[in-house]
């Protein structure tokens, strides 16, 4: 079985300078609780970088410190060579931000809202063009509160793009959206990378991280516990497949670990998660084992390992506990 140190290994090999965005030792404390604890990472230009973790992991706070909305208690972030603590306005001129829930002035129409945000920057894109880019051209006279969830997220994205930013921050861009709206947003985000924009996003959807991100940092308890490409993280599990099943009390974890091809096992009560390098052989061995011992085997699932498995392996908890 692979160790946590091995899984998290990429952390130590992460380059410390030369990126488009560099977080350096960010710390944020609230009333004796450390929400973000010494977070560092580097993001290259035209890369989509994901912060993956459960609610309360410190993803949003990390993002807001890099965006200049919150002041870190220690550390700083450097974007395109500009220090966010010392050159906040300069940083904010080249960044675009989509907050987790973007509230806007209810009195303004979409067009007026974009015109207002455009006026805050020395250089800005044409508001009508932006609205049509996010497929809201028919809504230019509507007010934000009249939009659906997906439309509102796209409006937030259009506003984030109004200054044609070099770096784009997206905080839970597809939270609570229907599958179609999520797809639509993913397409837009991938297109933006092609235009050379650097994108940092947070998510608690593994599929989103796997689908969109060039690299993923897994956060838990205010710290980055692993950082690599999604494939790299999963690869380090050393498993071809994950077998998820229930075996009653008489089964033994050590015996299961001895079965053919098993690279790791995790047990919670009667539930077993078995990582295997040879899926077919292990499956046959597991079935024979239950047959020979007369142990009932139920709820059997076999799937390719995901970031969920990585998270589980690292923390012993599931990502979507809620």
């Amino acid at each position: 079985m692979i160790s946590k140190e091995q899984l998290a290994g990429a952390l130590t090999t992460e380059p410390v300078s030369g990126g488009m965005v560099e977080a350096r030792g960010l710390v944020k404390r609230y009333a004796h609780k450390t929400v973000v604890n010494n977070v560092s990472f580097s993001v290259r230009q035209a890369e989509i970088f994901g912060l993956l973790g459960p609610n309360g992991a410190g993803k949003t706070t990390t993002l807001e410190m890099i965006e200049g909305i919150r002041t870190p208690d220690a550390g700083t972030a450097v974007l395109a060579g500009l220090d966010v603590r010392r050159q906040k306005s300069a940083v904010q001129r080249i960044t675009g931000v989509q907050l987790q829930a973007t509230s806007l002035f209810p009195e303004l129409t979409l067009l007026e809202t974009l015109q207002f945000f455009a006026s805050l920057y020395p250089r800005s894109l044409e508001p009508r063009k932006l609205l049509s880019d996010v497929m809201l051209e028919e809504k230019i006279k509507a007010h934000p509160q009249e939009l659906s969830g997906g439309q509102r997220q796209r409006l937030a994205l259009a506003i984030a793009l109004v200054n044609d930013p070099q770096v784009l921050f997206l905080d839970e861009p597809t939270a609570a959206l229907d599958p179609q709206s999520r797809r639509m947003l993913w397409d837009i985000v991938l297109r933006l990378r092609e235009q050379g924009k650097t994108i940092i996003l947070t998510t608690h959807y593994m599929d989103e991280a796997q689908m969109l991100c060039d690299r993923v940092a897994i956060m838990d308890g205010g710290q980055i516990i692993a950082l690599d490409t999604a494939a790299g993280l999963i690869g380090r599990l050393g498993a071809q497949a994950t077998i998820d099943c229930r075996l009653d009390g008489s089964a033994s974890k050590s015996e299961i670990e001895e079965l053919t091809g098993v690279s790791g096992t995790r047990q919670t009560n009667d539930r077993y998660i078995v990582y295997t390098e040879t899926m077919q052989a292990t499956l046959i061995a597991l079935l024979s084992y239950s047959e020979a011992r007369g142990i009932p085997l139920t709820d059997l699932q076999v799937h390719t390992p995901t970031l969920e498995d990585v998270f589980l392996e690292l923390t012993g908890r599931q990502l979507r506990a809620e």
Partner: protein, 360 residues
């Protein structure tokens, strides 16, 4: 840069004009009240103010003052002893009595001259009318003494407007009330921006909080002046209300009043977290102030136990100053005390804002 500031101002102003509730509580309520009072009490008290003058000084100076008062078209002047005139006041024969004590002219030269004034407080309109008249006379005397010692001459213009109808009384009051509703509400606006996360979104842009707040202040001030002008235009057009004072001075009073109320609104926003709570606090402040601040009634004749409360209210001073300028044509000297009280409120509120206000 210039277009950026203009967009910021225009956006803030547009947002205000689209807040239906704001327009209704400020301009709407003021217009409706004005119409009701204007039409219901249209034939009220067209008579002159009856002023009893008691001259205990018996000098050429005091005699000259009496003759000045007699020249006023708005006054019907009676002379007599102190006892006679005060009895007449109690009997409802006089609206006010002015007593010039012995040594008055002497004090006038040396400084510290005092006039004793008695009002009939049973009728708010005549009492206010009498008060304003006498105050204007005293102002006239005061300004003469301050600037060029010599014979006392009453400023004719200041006392020329003596036909106070209900509408003349209510119009400045409604202007004051309009300013209160339009500007105190800035507190709710800010709490709402903060609560819904609009300020957080703005914090991710290069826009500085102070720029947005300044733009909001300028927009509210512009709205106040515009709404005030509309209200006065309507009063002039429908009820023939006359503005006797200097328009520039009136605009100054409106500006100081609006800024004071804005500062108090910001102070409220410094303490409250939820916009619902801000709304309740606003109502809790506005309603007593609307009635005790003298927008609808003459609060000078209110029971004495309530007077400390009345005199703590910035709206009271705003209404007083508006009446002095609009109705009485008063100059700065007549309103400076009230204006200073308002400015004191403004400064105190801004200190609170400076200590406690949070943008995020």
């Amino acid at each position: 840069m210039r277009t950026r500031i203009m967009t910021l101002l225009r956006t803030n102003f547009i947002m205000l004009t689209r807040q239906r509730e704001l327009i209704l509580t400020s301009l709407g309520l003021a217009i409706v009240s004005m119409l009701v009072f204007g039409f219901l009490f249209s034939s009220n008290s067209a008579s002159k103010t009856r002023l009893g003058v008691v001259d205990q000084d018996h000098t050429p100076v005091s005699a000259q003052l009496v003759s000045q008062l007699q020249k006023s078209d708005a006054l019907q002047v009676f002379s007599g002893s102190s006892d006679e005139e005060q009895q007449a006041l109690r009997d409802g024969q006089r609206d006010a009595v002015v007593v010039m004590p012995a040594g008055f002219s002497q004090q006038l030269v040396q400084g510290g001259a005092r006039l004793q004034v008695y009002y009939d407080q049973s009728n708010p309109v005549t009492a206010t009318s009498a008060q304003l008249t006498v105050k204007a006379i005293v102002d006239g005397i005061n300004s003469k003494i301050m600037h060029q010692p010599g014979p006392v001459i009453v400023d004719q213009q200041a006392v020329a407007a003596k036909n106070l109808r209900e509408i003349d009384f209510i119009t400045p009051g409604m202007l004051g009330m309009l300013l209160m509703w339009a500007n105190l509400a800035v507190g709710i606006q800010l709490v709402n921006w903060r609560e819904t996360g609009i300020t957080r979104r703005l914090a991710a842009t290069p826009l500085k909080p102070i720029s947005m707040i300044s733009a909001q202040v300028v927009a509210r001030l512009a709205l106040s002046l515009l709404q005030g002008a509309l209200l006065l235009a309507l009063a002039i057009w429908l009820f023939n209300v006359h503005i006797y004072g200097n328009i520039g001075l009136l605009a100054l009073v409106v500006t100081v009043g609006a800024l004071t109320l804005l500062a108090i609104g910001f102070a409220i926003a410094s303490f409250v977290k939820k916009s619902e709570a801000a709304n309740s606090i606003l109502l809790l402040i506005s309603f007593p102030m609307m009635f005790l601040g003298g927008s609808y009634f003459d609060v000078n004749s209110a029971p004495s136990f309530i007077q400390p409360l009345v005199h703590a209210m910035p709206l009271y001073y705003l209404n007083e100053a508006l009446r002095q300028v609009i109705y009485n044509g008063a100059g700065w000297s007549a309103i400076q005390t009230g204006m200073l009280v308002m400015i004191a409120w403004m400064v105190a509120s801004m200190l609170v804002v400076w200590r406690a206000f949070k943008w995020l």
